[in-house]
């Protein structure tokens, strides 16, 4: 279809779709009037049942942990897929790591600044991961921050040197181990408490760091997975942008 034909098909249809969406949405109870019951029931019983003060985390890591398991494996699958899709093709070579590469790297000043950030980011990321059950945040958010810290080390140093710090295999292992850890916590519930994903550790005192039973462990394993996954994806893209060059042929 030509761009014109496409729009001729799309625009009237989109208008109808917009009308349908609005027609459906306007029959909701109206903004600010959530009728319940699901969320209200959890708000009523959640803190007592789970000793977690952040109920969003309690939903994600306990009540609806199976959803989160699926979500983490979506991330895991996409990461594995990106490694597979961006693998070096026939006829591609890595750019030699000499002068040419050095040109790509950050300046000395930027390098120093980045390293100063790293320590702060590690503290922040670690805090967000471990306090998931108490305050906003959790494994995913903290994991990205931790991954970012490591990535800054990469950017500040040599692209090649960073591969020595965290080789691809190690990142793949972290990604898989984090995901597997979460799945194993589910099996732990089955083994120690009798039902898959049942919270099998002591719930502790609400508000304290080791409260909410298995939730901090879930958070940590997700944190490991997410940090590994994001780092892996970033380095794959960085590889493509900086190192990989097609050898001649190209687009046929």
């Amino acid at each position: 279809m030509s761009q014109r034909g496409r729009l001729l098909l799309f625009l009237p249809s989109a208008a109808v779709l917009l009308f349908l969406l609005i027609d459906g949405l306007q029959r909701l109870t109206g903004f600010g009037h959530y009728p319940g019951p699901y969320g209200f029931v959890l708000n009523g019983v959640g803190v007592n049942q789970r000793h977690a003060t952040n109920l969003v985390t309690a939903v994600n890591f306990d009540y609806r942990a199976f959803d989160t398991l699926g979500e983490e494996f979506i991330l895991f699958t996409a990461t594995t897929a990106i490694v597979l899709i961006l693998r070096h093709m026939r006829g591609e070579r890595e750019r030699p790591s000499g002068d040419e590469l050095r040109r790509e790297n950050a300046s000395e000043a930027l390098r120093g600044m980045a390293l100063a950030f790293v320590a702060a980011l590690i503290v922040l990321g670690g805090y967000v991961v471990t306090h998931g059950a108490l305050t906003p945040g959790g494994g995913f958010q903290g994991g990205v921050v931790l991954g970012c810290a490591a990535f800054l080390v990469f950017l500040a140093g040599e692209v090649v040197a960073m591969k020595r710090v965290a080789p691809e295999k190690l990142l793949e292992f972290a990604d898989a181990a984090g995901a597997a850890g979460f799945a194993l916590l589910g099996i732990g519930g089955l083994v120690f408490a009798g039902v898959f994903f049942q919270n099998f550790l002591d719930l502790g005192k609400p508000g304290s760091l080791n409260s909410a039973g298995t939730m901090p462990l879930v958070s940590i394993s997700i944190g490991i997975e997410v940090a590994g996954a994001f780092l892996l994806v970033w380095t794959e893209f960085l590889d493509q942008a900086v190192l990989v060059r097609s050898g001649g042929g190209g687009s046929e």
Partner: protein
Amino acid sequence: MTTVQHLAPLAVVIPLLAACVIAGLSFLPRRLHEVVAIGAAIASTTLCAILLAHANDGPIVYWLGHWEPHHGVALGISLTVDQLGAGIATLTGVLVIASLVYSTRYYDEIDGPYFALVMTFMAGMVAFSLTGDLFDMFVFFELMSVAAFALTAVMIEERGPIQGAINFAVTNSVAGFGLLVGIALLYGRTGALNLAQIGLSLDHHPADALVAVALLLVVAAFLTKAAAVPFHFWLADAHAVAPAPVSILFSGVMVELGVFGAARVLSTAFAQPIEPSLHDLRMVLVGVGVVTAVVAAFSCFQQRHLKRLLAFSTISHMGIVICGVALLADRALAGAASYALGHGLAKGALFLGTGTLLHRCGAIDEFQLRGQGRDLPLLGLVFVVGALVLASAPLATTFFGKSLVEDAALSADYAWLPAVLALCSALTGAAVLRASARIFLGWGDDPQETRTESEERSQEASSREEGADVKPHTATPALLVAVPAVLMLAAVLAGLVPELVPSIERAAAHFRDHASYAGAVLSGRAPHFPPVAGAHVSATAWIYAAASTAGALLLASFGLRDRQVLPVTVADVLRAAHSGHVGDYIAWWTFGMALLGGFVLWAVAG
């Protein structure tokens, strides 16, 4: 809780853990990855089969995390394993095992992550069929989507897979977001995510525009996965370029799961609201199924790229399965399930057979392969039997399935439906028969001088280029013929097991009994199902089956003489619609939403 219940989450987690082992230890040799993957697939399939055997007295309900409902409000997620769900999960497992075994010999080189992707794909499909929670369905819908996008693009050295994966990913993601909006609408109305609870909560209100739009968004998302026209464009692209062991999973069970998802929400969450408008909604949905079956059957017949031909035949057969679900009757649903079983096994065998031809000859074009299959007689037999199964020849599983659909169509006053479906069976069967005669027997005219149309020529060019990257092999490993042969044998034998079709009829009736379902899920009541009277295959069903088989033979000989069944202009329009441009596909998707939405709004909210 009984021990059997605990198997449900394990059937999902085992392949997930296998994926972690494979991807985390990617330095291990390929054979070890294969062993882990096949072992996990067998274990999970066995669990699904055990669940299937134990679900005959009603759904097995498993509250994950021990979150049982609190005064009728589901706090957590339930796995609700009924026989149709466990059955399609078992079919998934069988096809995954076949695919993995086949790929041990098929790929010359393949990276470990490939097997990890197959494992998460499997876990996504199994969880999707076992879960009883709407949002959980979305999550695992996305998990199997993401794995499928990646598996489409495995062969990054070629051009087709990249384009196919992009079209697949964009179309299905948009559909997934639509599903999410539908979920949000239902949640805003009912405050529930559990299918049974949504169903109970919707019982209290008459259906309005909100329910209609939610139904549109949810069902259309699943129909996009099931490749209903006009949401179907991605399928031909993705199936044609994915490697054979992946195509078998796509055609054999992934698209069927789309229809399954639609059937699931229609018979749980929406069962009560659509009750008053059953007649109108049936008309709309049967319309979707018929258009899908007919359009794709003609597209299928005019293909010469073998995998694309099979892909279009899958779309057409999905149209038939959609008709079965769309009739909104127990017997029709049983027909759809039996049909999906027969089709999944047979189409899986055909896709693997095509892979074997590609492996041997380095080509996938029907004319290029002319006479090349002479030294693979067993594979030829597989193709011919497969063509007959697709044509719903008497005694095939597809035949029993279709006769049930026809039966239900007659009692719902759709007397014309069987004839239309028979035409589609004949066309799709004929396409495969024609290709097998040309490839394995060398029959038919030499096409070179007769083809002049420009669209044809470009198609020829692209289908020639397809095989360019695959090195032909001088010998075919026995396994590459044995796996498709075993699958085809299973497809044929399944039709001959006397107890199979009646038990599917029972399962379908239980599946649609939404009051028993809700009772079992929310209050743990053991369901009391009324006895189901098995249907007898009527005389007209035999006549239609004989007609479609004869029609397939006739059309195949017609096609061998290089004749088209459609006028050139119509054929070119059909081809031109499949432009390969993702923007076109989304424009068509929006068009389909608008059209279907208008009809659903009219039917449900009136």
